[in-house]
């Protein structure tokens, strides 16, 4: 049997972990096979759960979140017969598949969308935990917005510097209100559970928001402009499908291989005009073809379009 292990936000965070959960459920529905799962609650459990699954003969073990990196690096060599997949982090071991995403590309697209929808010429970004990964989102977003409107004002706030920042809707809401007060009328939440507060506050304040990871358009219909999709679900689904034959190595998922994208559905149909969609799709094509290169913050820890 395979197993999926979620990180602290829990599998119902409506965002990152939930995407992984959806991927696993899809695999389960298709194959009719059960999988083991575990939600981490304290750090001592990380080693314990990896060991326990490996000892029980679970294969492969799929885990989501960069926080697993360190422990996996230590455990993987001890269980050479078990295959591991880790999402959002690179772990260099012969039995580990590392899946990372080009979040900056997807963020670029929703950044364009934000700039196109903004009437005030100000767009906001609410990040979760202040780590390079989240700055990567923000930087892509800012680049996309500037690509549409070079004079656009970009406001960015991070929720915190710890994993609690993934789950602080009150602060998410207050930051959104503050950004609105500074003129923002579209706010992109790349903040896990904190995003719930962002989306809620945007709705309450009558401005637009952008969801993240999963398709969050349905959460506040008519107020969520779109969602930056990070297909963690696909990554988990693929890993489970490969099963014991999981191919080790680094797997980068970007626009080109549908690893990231933006969401359109009935909930935001009224908000996105065909022209907007056309502009964004055109940019997407250029990125895929390599004509446009979006700067990756994590490549050099700098951002040409914004300061953090």
């Amino acid at each position: 049997d395979p197993a999926v292990i979620f990180d602290m936000g829990g599998k119902f965070d409506k965002s990152f972990n939930e995407a992984a959960y959806n991927g696993a459920e899809k695999w389960k529905a298709e194959t009719g096979t059960a999988y083991k799962e575990f939600e981490i609650k304290d750090n001592a459990q990380r080693e314990q759960v990896l060991r326990q699954f490996a000892e029980e003969g679970v294969n492969p073990v799929v885990m989501v979140g960069f926080m697993w990196g360190d422990v996996l690096g230590k455990i993987a060599p001890e269980y050479p017969d078990t295959k591991f997949a880790i999402i959002d982090m690179v772990v260099d071991a012969p039995n580990v598949k590392s899946v990372v995403f080009n979040e900056h590309e997807g963020s670029y697209l929703v950044g364009m969308m934000a700039a196109l929808a903004s009437k005030t010429g100000t767009v906001g970004f609410v990040g979760g935990m202040d780590i390079p990964l989240i700055r990567k989102f923000g930087c892509g977003y800012a680049q996309g917005a500037k690509a549409v409107n070079p004079d656009i004002k970009f406001i960015s706030n991070m929720t915190g510097t710890t994993p609690e920042a993934w789950n602080d809707p009150v602060k998410g809401a207050e930051l959104t209100k503050a950004q609105k007060a500074q003129g923002a009328d579209v706010v992109f939440a790349a903040a896990g559970g904190t995003g719930m507060g962002v989306l809620q506050a945007a709705k309450d304040e009558g401005i637009l928001s952008i969801g993240v990871d999963s398709n969050q358009n349905y959460i506040q219909p008519g107020s969520v402009l779109t969602s930056m999709l990070k297909r963690v679900d696909n990554a988990v689904y693929e890993a489970l499908k490969e099963g014991e034959n999981l191919t080790p190595g680094i797997n980068v998922m970007g626009l080109a291989n549908d690893g990231v994208g933006y969401a359109m559905d009935e909930h935001n149909a009224a908000l996105v005009t065909p022209e907007m969609q056309a502009t964004v799709d055109e940019a997407a094509a250029k990125i895929k073809s390599g004509e446009v290169v979006v700067h990756d913050y994590m490549a050099d820890n700098t951002c040409p379009a914004a300061e953090f």
């Binding site: 599998k11 809707p169 009150v170 809401a173 007060a181 719930m196």
Partner: protein, 322 residues
């Protein structure tokens, strides 16, 4: 910092001060009656979860409010039984109930909704929405005062105004009514109340239950007004800060209002590192801002309050016969 930003921060301060104020007044009743209650936090939490759950299921925030208050009162009653009837240690009882609340809220919410201990987002009638005070629109164009009224005073949910009204109400009850006189007496010298032929037990239970009601309102406000739903540990230490505010206020209602507004203001600032940065001209680490309300609490307790003498019989069970 420009005026608009200030208004925004003040607006946010009021929102964040409200749960503190409700909890602080809650603590005031209990502690004035001589029952210390460190379990404000837990009561808020259970009320938040219950109200959000009921509101989510039945789509009515009013049902949620009733349920939340009842849940909080149930916890208050346990505290009462432990500390009044069985003369247990009031601090320990409070700490214990905080633990129970922290765990049980997640268990129940997970059981009901299967969303990792969260409730679904509340919408429409399941939530207290901001209400505009009369003439807010008309005043909005008046500079300074008008905008202050429109932006900061107006546009909060009903519970914010209820909390504000509770301040004069509490002051009135405490200082102008028979009940208030007895309540203050029982916290100072329960034997005086007892020999005057009034039941110490009943008075204390009533106070503890009022504490339950007010903590319930605080929890309901958090889950159904400030936010749209319950999330684990969403009270985030507000119960303790409310206690500190109570000490700061030296157990007096009006002072409690000012203390809570101050703490609310610091919480609002912690959410706005950008503002702090522009005001102080330096980059203040976010963890420092996060810790600011707590540090302020310590500073207040250590230095600013002067000697805060709690109700004299506070924390001690009333024992007639050993």
């Amino acid at each position: 910092m420009d005026y608009a930003t200030l208004l925004q921060v003040l607006d946010s301060s009021i929102r964040l001060a409200t749960p503190l104020l409700l909890a602080c007044l809650a603590g005031l009743y209990s502690e004035r009656a001589g029952v210390f209650d460190i379990g404000l936090e837990g009561k808020m939490l259970i009320a938040a979860m219950t109200s959000a759950s009921v509101a989510a299921i039945y789509g009515s925030v009013w049902l949620g409010l009733v349920a939340g208050v009842l849940a909080s009162m149930a916890f208050a009653l346990i505290h009462g039984v432990a500390s009044i009837t069985f003369r247990g240690n009031q601090l320990i009882s409070g700490v214990a109930l905080n633990f129970v609340a922290a765990g049980i809220t997640v268990l129940i919410a997970q059981h009901l909704f299967g969303q990792g201990g969260r409730t679904p987002s509340l919408e429409g009638a399941a939530r207290f929405l901001p209400i505009d005070l009369p003439l807010a629109g008309a005043f909005a164009s008046v500079p300074v005062v008008g905008t202050l009224y429109a932006e900061v005073i107006s546009g909060h949910s009903l519970l914010v105004y209820a909390a504000a009204l509770l301040v004069p109400l509490t002051a009135f009850v405490l200082y102008r009514t028979r009940y208030g006189l007895r309540l203050r007496a029982v916290g100072e010298n329960p034997a005086s109340v007892d020999t005057a032929g009034v039941s110490v037990r009943n008075l204390r239970y009533s106070a503890v239950l009022i504490t339950g009601v007010l903590c319930g309102l605080a929890g309901v406000y958090l889950a159904c007004a400030l936010q749209a739903g319950f999330g684990r540990d969403m009270t985030a230490g507000r119960g303790y800060i409310a206690l500190a505010a109570l000490i700061f206020a030296k157990w007096r209602p009006w002072h409690a209002l000012w203390a809570c507004l101050l703490f609310g203001f610091f919480q609002a600032l912690a959410l706005r590192p950008d503002v702090v940065e522009t005001v102080t001209f330096m980059k203040v680490p976010v963890p420092f801002l996060d810790a600011l309300p707590y540090m302020l609490t310590v500073i207040v307790l250590a230095g600013l309050v002067g000697k805060a003498i709690p109700p004299r019989a506070g924390g001690e069970p009333y024992v007639k016969e050993r």
